[in-house]
């Protein structure tokens, strides 16, 4: 992985725009790629948040755009806020692949936003997603207040989500990233975030910005902040709703992109996690927001069916990826009786770690490796749904905490085999 083309020096056209701007205390950055339909909702939320919570505080809107061909940039420019338009190139492969987060070249976009905000000398930078339309003015307050008043350097979101939303995040990404970085983060890949001037300074000086557009930059920012002893907080936000034509609902693609990002981060930035021990809990700010608990239709039987088909069809890949004991334990999971299906947490942690090791050592073609995890993920998710669907929210939270515990407990297994 190489550094992005956009270095500490800003492109000349951005430089020119900054020359004419008044000093600002706050910067709000929106990363876009053909989001004309949804950016008005984001702009409305920015206006509402600034007027209600930061009246009189000078703010600037930064748009890091990957080359939209619709009216996205125009709509943002019409917001009435001081505006900086920064275009960044996106790798053709990412443009073609339409990654789930909808912004190809996300690393470059984030780096641009950081560089512009730092040049402006703001006290805080807020990054918002262009297609998350559930954003409200309250999000600005919840994410920025810890930076402005509580000494936070990086504030990550905790969205109120249905217990069965975000199963990739809850059962794979969060426990894995938590164990790696030594701090449990509820939604490490969720886009909205706030950064302090100190964090901007630190990141702008960093020469190892990841190029990948697939969330590696988000993870790297969190990892770098934690490794450097910056103050990382979480802020409870409201519900999370995305309206996008570019985010996929294809599970193998989701798993390949998100987990692939974590594995890529592990490969490129060993110093951020390999020797990292568990630290104190990350402060979570803001009043709890009750998640939706409406009934949802989840086809557990079909998920277990996909798991058993995986046992049959993907055995030749898993035999290469999974350690013999792990594979043996997976094979002995009783999938005949749906109601009694279980997938122990420690086994799940070892499965994910074996996949991380398989990715690290390139045991099989990496995309195949990542996609072949899907039936296992479906099995683990089915087990989670079965274990919690007749229990209360606290029990569901506790089940997730147990998963995180297992990943932390098993981390030495990963570290021992990494080198």
């Amino acid at each position: 992985m190489s550094a992005v083309a956009v270095g500490p020096e800003l492109p000349p056209d951005v430089d020119r725009q900054l020359d004419g701007l008044a000093p600002a205390e706050l910067a709000v950055s929106v990363l876009t790629y053909n989001n004309a339909a949804t950016v008005p909702a984001v702009v409305d939320a920015v206006h509402a948040g600034l007027e209600k919570h930061f009246t009189g505080t000078p703010a600037v809107l930064i748009n890091a755009d990957a080359g939209s061909s619709d009216t996205t940039v125009d709509r943002l420019a019409e917001s009435g806020l001081p505006f900086v338009r920064a275009h960044h190139a996106a790798p053709a492969a990412q443009l073609g692949a339409v990654p789930f987060h909808g912004v190809p070249g996300r690393g470059a976009a984030l780096r641009l936003a950081v560089a512009v905000a730092r040049r402006l000398g703001v006290r805080a930078l807020l990054v918002l997603e262009a297609d998350v339309t559930s954003v409200t003015g309250e999000w600005l307050e919840r994410l920025l207040r810890p930076v402005l008043e509580h000494g936070a350097d990086l504030v990550l979101p905790v969205h109120a989500r249905h217990r069965y939303d975000g199963t990739i995040t809850n059962l794979v990404l969060a426990p894995l990233v938590g164990a790696l970085l030594g701090r449990r983060l509820h939604q490490p890949l969720s886009g909205p975030r706030a950064l302090s001037a100190r964090a901007l300074e630190r990141l702008a000086a960093e020469s190892r910005w990841p190029e990948s557009g697939r969330s590696v930059a988000d993870l790297w920012i969190a990892g770098t902040a934690l490794a450097d002893g910056l103050s990382v907080h979480e802020a409870r936000l409201g519900r999370w709703r995305v309206e996008s034509n570019t985010r996929t609902a294809d599970l193998p693609a989701m798993v390949a992109q998100t987990l692939g990002a974590v594995f890529a981060m592990m490969d490129e930035y060993e110093d951020l996690w390999l020797g990292t021990a568990a630290g104190p809990p990350v402060p979570v700010e803001g009043p709890p927001v009750l998640p939706s608990d409406e009934p949802v239709q989840i086809d557990v039987e079909r998920m277990i069916g996909a798991f058993t088909r995986g046992l049959r069809d993907l055995g030749t890949i898993w035999e290469h990826v999974l350690a013999p004991d792990t594979l043996g334990d997976v094979l002995s999971l009783e999938a005949d009786d749906v109601e009694r299906f279980r997938f122990p947490d420690d086994l799940w942690a070892r499965v994910v770690y074996d996949f991380a090791l398989g990715h690290h050592w390139s045991i099989v073609y990496r995309d195949h490796l990542l996609r072949s995890l899907v039936p296992l993920y479906l099995g683990r998710t089915a087990a989670y749904v079965l274990a919690t669907r007749r229990r209360d929210a606290a029990a569901a939270e506790s089940a997730l905490a147990a998963v995180a515990d297992a990943f932390e407990r098993e981390k030495p297994y990963l570290v021992d085999r990494w080198r």
């Binding site: 890949l189 079909r302 046992l311 030749t316």
Partner: protein, 560 residues
């Protein structure tokens, strides 16, 4: 990878092996379990799931082991019970399951039970067999081995009474009206299941019980006993050990052997097999489609066992006289090729060594509803020797290589249990595993590819079947459906190229993906779908509709 589902047999491909014929490890000219262990990698690489072992018990071998003289042992030529255990463990280690033949209906006349039974009417085993002072009882029962037996009764001079036997006179029938016999047979099953055996192919099951005034076949009392056996095995062994019935009957007569899913897990579909050959020789789909109209539905946990050839003659009991005459005309032009009501030839010579026809019949075997059973050696196109007597001609040594004795054994040629095939066409120098393994386009490697393709879909083992009715009756076309997946199989029974138009309007918008090469064919429209097929050519298509695979689990939209 082992299929851990309780109904694993529904997806499985079976491989039928005679221990004596596969590999001789101890150099006595007879195959053994040690040799079979050495050969397991080959069986695994072929891509089958379960090995079916023909009778391996101590026996005087007057019926090739189907005359068992000790249910608890291994024939000394094959090894010991410990050797069998090693074989079973080695197979399991390769994710292969194993079932063995079990002859429930009768024993050898050398079995200690029979010896005790004949010795005195007062013996504890006196009623283990069916005795009568008259040879007139059960007169409505047919004689099965018409070439060798004149009656189902034989006078035993020691006891001075007649004993009942549906097969050879040296194979007295057990008396299942005696509950002690039922208990004894269950104990036999437990003995092998305790060692980890995955099930039994139960020989000659329609004949367990006799009743006056009946054909003495398929009687309700027989079914009651079989259900009892099944219940005990399910209860004691967790439900994944299987019972496969050998009931050479019409499908409607076999149907009761499945019960309500509480008797046999599987049963052979005997009448289908000769009709595959008929359809091929007549270049007409009707013999094949017709037999399915006479095939009743079976319980969802049950499965048909399909085969092209096995260790017996190609039985023609389940065809009409006219069909049998045609089969003899087409496939047994020499009288030595006939045996009883059948033809004692292997697959390849039956089809004149025509590779395309061999592949076509294997295509049908692997894609029609049921679990396929491949007879050892047919995957390389082994030949036969009809002059060896009885069914020995299809039980010759496996042809591993062009080495001495086809690589089967190191003994002098004359010491082999049967001579290897040496004719110029099918002889071991021309047809052997080693040569075909090296040749990418060999029959062996084609079979491996077909089996690998079959493993990619559970539809083959679990789907229903719906025949399409193209105007060209030389082309067999059928849909197999299971859950959300649909496969389309198209096969040309003719030796010349054939066009066919298929009504696939119900799948408008779907794309046929050819499964062996993963090639996308033109999208299906409302107009008839046109295909052309080479001589004996076939296609396996997966019909992919737009949006296939997007059926939600309910977690996708917000999974991240």
């Amino acid at each position: 990878m082992k299929n851990t589902a309780r109904d694993w047999y529904k997806d499985a491909v079976f491989y039928e092996v005679h221990v004596k014929a596969f590999k001789d490890a101890n150099g006595d000219g007879i195959g053994d379990f040690a040799g079979l262990i050495e050969s397991l990698d080959y069986i695994q690489e072929l891509g089958v799931d379960c090995v079916w072992i023909l009778p391996m018990y101590p026996s005087p071998l007057r019926d090739d082991g189907y005359d068992i003289s000790d249910f608890y042992g291994i024939h000394p030529s094959y090894g010991t019970v410990a050797d069998f255990q090693k074989f079973l463990d080695a197979a399991h280690a390769r994710d292969l399951r194993v079932i063995t033949d079990l002859v429930m209906n009768h024993t050898s006349d050398q079995h200690p039970w029979f010896q005790a039974s004949r010795s005195s009417p007062l013996s504890p085993y006196a009623d283990y067999y069916v005795w009568s002072s008259s040879d007139r009882r059960f007169g409505d029962a047919r004689i099965i081995f018409v070439d060798t037996e004149k009656s189902n009764w034989t006078l035993d001079p020691t006891r001075g009474e007649y004993y009942w036997h549906r097969f050879f006179s040296h194979q007295p029938d057990l008396n299942y009206d005696n509950s002690a016999v039922c208990r004894a047979m269950l104990d036999v099953m437990r003995f092998w299941l305790d060692r980890g055996l995955d099930g039994f192919r139960c020989d000659a099951v329609p004949y367990l019980v006799e009743r006056e005034g009946t054909s003495c076949e398929n009687l309700p009392e027989t079914h009651a006993i079989l259900k009892e056996f099944r219940a005990v095995i399910d209860q004691e062994y967790g439900g994944d050990r299987i019972l496969l019935a050998e009931a050479n009957q019409w499908p409607e007569d076999v149907r009761p052997y499945f019960g309500n899913g509480d008797e046999f897990h599987m049963s052979f579909h005997f009448p289908l097999m000769p009709r595959l050959y008929l359809g091929l020789r007549l270049e007409d789909t009707r013999p094949i489609t017709d037999i399915f109209t006479h095939t009743p539905p079976i319980p969802p946990t049950c499965q048909w066992g399909l085969f092209l050839r096995n260790h017996d003659e190609l039985t023609l009991e389940m065809v009409t006289n006219e069909e049998r005459a045609f089969m003899y005309y087409a496939y047994a032009h020499e009288s030595d090729m006939k045996l009883n009501l059948g033809i004692r030839r292997r697959l390849a010579p039956l089809l004149d060594g025509d590779r395309r026809r061999v592949e076509l019949l294997n295509c049908l075997l692997l894609t029609l509803p049921g679990s396929p059973i491949i007879y050892y050696g047919d995957e390389i196109g082994m030949g036969d020797n009809v002059y060896l007597g009885d069914r020995n001609g299809v039980r010759t040594p496996m042809q591993w290589s062009r080495d001495r004795n086809a690589g089967f054994s190191s003994v002098e040629h004359g010491q082999l249990y049967l001579p290897v095939i040496t004719d110029p066409v099918y002889g071991y120098e021309a047809v052997n595993v080693a040569a075909q393994a090296r040749q990418p386009s060999s029959l062996l490697n084609t079979m491996r590819r077909l089996l690998a393709a079959r493993r990619t879909s559970s539809v083959f083992g679990r789907g229903n079947i719906e025949f399409l009715r193209p105007r060209n009756s030389k082309v067999l076309a059928y849909l197999r459906r299971h859950a959300r997946e649909t496969l389309l199989i198209v096969a040309n029974l003719s030796a010349t190229p054939q066009p066919v138009e298929l009504d696939l309007a119900a799948f408008t918008g779907a794309t046929p993906i050819e499964m062996l090469g993963a090639t996308a064919f033109p999208t299906i429209r409302t107009a008839p779908y046109f295909l052309s097929l080479g001589p004996h050519g076939f296609y396996w298509f997966r019909l992919e509709r737009p949006g296939d695979g997007d059926e939600p689990f309910g977690i996708e939209r917000t999974a991240i």
